[in-house]
């Protein structure tokens, strides 16, 4: 069984994915509303895994909900909270429920989240998790044992930060992720598309699909906050000025316009294979961003 997301990646179509954060608790109403709204508009939805190390409903549960509602999930899995036994078990469970797209992340430190004294696991790293997926697909586990059941056919991905400083160590890791089996790569949020273009000049040599990360800007302070606090995110001053100059109450409209404009350029210039839209709690705006980019589902 090939996932519909993998088929879309292989089709050469311009790919659109988005991101959903499961709730802190078991009230899934808002998540379900967003899934319902987006499932037929995007190729796949990422379910975040305790993003920023804040404890939430599990990404696996969110991915299952997407699947049950007829959408296409991308299961985010970090190596922060589970050792290799637990990661493999969750991959088997995911496969058994038709959840085949997995984004492999090392994960933020627990110190960045809301359980600051917890033990960070990091038994595996992102590249080793990718390799684990490829091992399971051969019917084996990391202990060398045989799996009882048809080996799952996953679509594995990872991330890269094109504007990391220094960039060279990141690119070595990027190449190792591809060697380990990454089929698609989502980038950290990019705002300077000339730099993204330069990155793609390098990345094109590898057999991997690249989705440019787009984070919706909602205000000038939010942009400054990201510049200060998120590694590898650099919102150019011109964009901050543009959103700051928006009329009162119009910052989000301006943010949608900026995101739409960026996606439009990426699409028109065939800069990369698609985009991954992160609206961070405002997922209901994804259709408006797509409309602003001139994209139809």
């Amino acid at each position: 069984m090939i996932s519909s997301f993998k088929k879309a990646l292989d089709s050469g179509k311009f790919i659109i994915t988005c991101e959903l954060a499961p709730p802190k608790g078991i009230n899934l109403d808002k998540t379900a509303h967003h899934i319902d709204l987006l499932k037929d508009k995007v190729h796949a939805m990422n379910l975040t895994d305790h993003q920023s190390s804040v404890m939430r409903f599990p990404s696996l549960g969110g991915a299952l909900l997407v699947k049950e509602m007829g959408g296409e999930p991308i299961l985010q899995m970090t190596c922060r909270d589970r050792n290799r036994l637990a990661l493999q078990a969750d991959l088997l469970f995911a496969a058994s429920r038709g959840i085949l797209n997995v984004l492999c992340l090392t994960g933020d430190s627990v110190m960045l989240g809301d359980h600051k004294t917890a033990k960070g696991v990091f038994d595996l790293d992102s590249s080793q998790l990718l390799a684990t997926i490829r091992t399971l697909e051969k019917g084996k586990d990391l202990g060398g044992g045989d799996l009882d059941g048809y080996p799952p056919d996953f679509c594995a991905g990872a991330i890269v930060t094109p504007e990391a400083k220094p960039i060279e160590p990141q690119l070595i890791k990027f190449e190792k992720k591809i060697e380990a089996g990454a089929e698609f790569i989502q980038t950290q949020a990019v705002y300077d598309l000339d730099k993204m273009k330069a990155f793609m000049g390098y990345a094109r040599q590898f057999p991997v699909k690249i989705l440019a990360g787009i984070i919706l800007l909602t205000s000038a302070p939010m942009a400054r906050f990201m510049n200060k606090n998120i590694a590898g995110v650099n919102v150019p001053q011109a964009l901050i000025d543009e959103i700051a100059a928006a009329p009162k109450g119009g910052a989000i409209t301006k943010g949608i316009e900026i995101a739409g404009r960026m996606i439009k350029r990426i699409h028109e210039e065939k800069m990369c294979d698609g985009v991954h839209i992160m609206a961070i709690g405002k997922e209901e705006l994804v259709p408006e961003i797509m409309a602003a980019a001139g994209l139809t589902p």
Partner: protein, 217 residues
Amino acid sequence: MIRSITKPKSKEEIHSLLGGLNRIYIIGCGTCVTLTHTGGAPEVAAMKEALLDSGKLVTGQIVVPVACDNLTSEILSEEIEKIEQADVLLIMTCAFGVQTISSQLKRMVVPALDTLFIGKETASGQFNEICTQCGTCVIGETGGICPVTNCHKGLINGPCGGTNQGKCEIDSNKDCAWTLIYNRLSELGRLDSMRKLHGPRNFLGEPKPGKYEMAKS
């Protein structure tokens, strides 16, 4: 030189650990804790003052040369009367010293310090962890810089996405080990070493509790 790096526990924690015990014998050490100023003669004297001020009775105090040495028991045997008058030993050494003394004297002990790591002084008053004794040394492939110790996540395949301007995502005062390793391997013309994809680590090089017997020749 390799050192045990310690920091003082808070007064509140020490008070809580001492509980209702009022007669206290204090032991300091003349080695690692003199470097960190956490358990040498001046700190032992200050601790005595603080305890007296809080109404405790100090039956005696000593700064042994090397608390973790087996000879410590002989030195302490000369103090045995004062030690026996005490309800508890308050020990201002690293945990190695506390455990050595506790096993030698078989008396209730309270550590006055937290042992942070095994490391060295890299600049005046600044201490860095060097080795976590993992039992599966990887530094032959990382230019002699240990990612198991110096990377917050102990990653062996390169940096995570949280690295920023050569610093760690948890603290901008801490270097990103993988930036250091990249720079070192780059200088040595050995970046090929960093490109090697490593499989999962063996986290049980020496399963806890560590115990090693030399092979008989």
